[in-house]
Symmetry: C2
């Protein structure tokens, strides 16, 4: 029987004054959990309160990085709506708020209206012809953040990531899936939206690139299999940058659009 790390490590328990969760160090970057993982944990509690199956638009403000271990999650249903329910969550550790989240939750299979998608998935070689980020990182003699072991992430051999030209955007595109075989969902989509390494890593000298704010619009339930992700930065001003993401499923359908505001910290 296979255990899904994602399902187990984002589980939340109800208490008298909200929710608790145990953040697992499997999702760490250095000493702190990955931001998309924190958001997914909060979303699990918010979905339960909203009594809806899908996060539709969620925004996290990262206030102070927690450590792996117990956190409290205080949720509040702002508006139990007809189509969407709006919920907020505060993730707390050591009496200090770490992440504040607001989101609207609904049923993506229950929507109706016009469809027209002019965006297209990036054209890169199939996963078998791409290179593993894990292997690339090891070969380069760089440390592998623990969270990277949770994913099978593959980049084209000729990826411009890490070495864009002067006039180009910072950009990374590749295939991603859970290494343990867990299939993607609308809940894990918020994690996948923050699972790629920073767009500008290697191209701009940076110690780390912490996220101030991350918004994910989940636009469809993913088919089983690989997700195709692309992340791009076009405006870096005084150390502040956006990272615009798209996730596509194995049938070429859009799963999520994401954008984050991040800060370049010097090494």
């Amino acid at each position: 029987m296979s255990v899904s790390h994602f399902d187990a490590d984002t589980a939340v328990g109800r208490t008298e004054d909200g929710w608790v969760a145990d953040l697992h160090e499997r999702w760490n970057i250095g000493h702190n959990p990955n931001g998309g993982y924190l958001l997914a944990v909060a979303v699990r509690a918010m979905l339960a309160d909203a009594r809806r199956p899908d996060p539709v638009t969620v925004t996290a403000h990262y206030l102070s990085p927690p450590s792996a271990g117990r956190v409290g999650i205080r949720t509040s249903v702002v508006k139990p709506g007809r189509s969407f329910s709006t919920v907020t969550a505060a993730m707390i550790q050591g009496e200090r708020e770490r992440v504040r989240v607001i989101g609207a939750f609904g049923d993506l299979t229950g929507q109706s209206g016009p469809t027209r998608v002019s965006a297209r998935p990036p054209e890169i070689p199939p996963p078998d012809e791409c290179e593993s980020l894990l292997e690339l990182t090891r070969r380069a003699g760089r440390a592998v953040p623990e969270v990277m072991n949770r994913f099978d992430l593959r980049l084209p051999a000729d990826s411009p990531w890490g070495r864009p030209g002067e006039g180009d955007p910072f950009e990374i595109a590749g295939w991603i899936r859970f290494r343990d075989g867990t299939q993607p969902t609308t809940t894990s989509a918020v994690l996948f939206a923050d699972a790629f390494p920073p767009t500008l890593l290697g191209a701009v000298h940076a110690g780390w690139v912490p996220t101030l704010e991350l918004t994910v619009h989940v636009r469809g339930r993913p088919a089983p299999g690989w997700l195709l992700g692309t992340f791009r930065t076009r405006v870096l001003v005084d150390g502040l940058m956006e990272e615009d993401g798209e996730l596509w499923d194995s049938r070429g359908k859009p799963v999520a659009l994401s954008r984050q505001l991040a800060m370049v910290l010097r090494a």
Copy 2:
């Protein structure tokens, strides 16, 4: 002496349990105020509580449209940080919450770090060679929403807006400024990010396109003069669409990146 409608109509007053504001019908679309205007009013109160000059990233969830008139704004400082202060606001009218906002506020002139902008402003003719949206709307015999009278908004004569081809994104690009001569600021940038007509108007049969969620990243203080705005929709699925905006100042510098999730309602 000139009066700035924007400054006057977004003014907030402190009360014992928060803030109040008087929404003016000058900013209405039909019977309800424009969403960017509501966000700007909330931001005025949040800036005062944050004691910072600039909104850096703000997200609004639109719950229930208010009418022009008195609203209460309950704010809460989530984290008074070193670089950024995070604040939430709830806009209330008739004991019902209408808009929930979260934002991080700071001083955009106090940031330091690398700069590289690969995005470029759209290449359209200068304002004098463009057509007034107000005139275009009147000539087409369509009603002019009251809020449109607050802006001088000009589109290229050959704008693809309203008639995109089958494979094209829905897109609108044009010049915008306040009609009363008020110069743009980082606070009014959140209004300008929601001031253009919907990208798909005229191209997809729609009654109205209400915003569920709007996030604006303000990336620089605008120089005086025109703003150049471009808004694009690439993923419309089952009536849900994103609208990705960019605002550039008269010197070609990025002022704001915005994204909203909106819903197409049938006429």
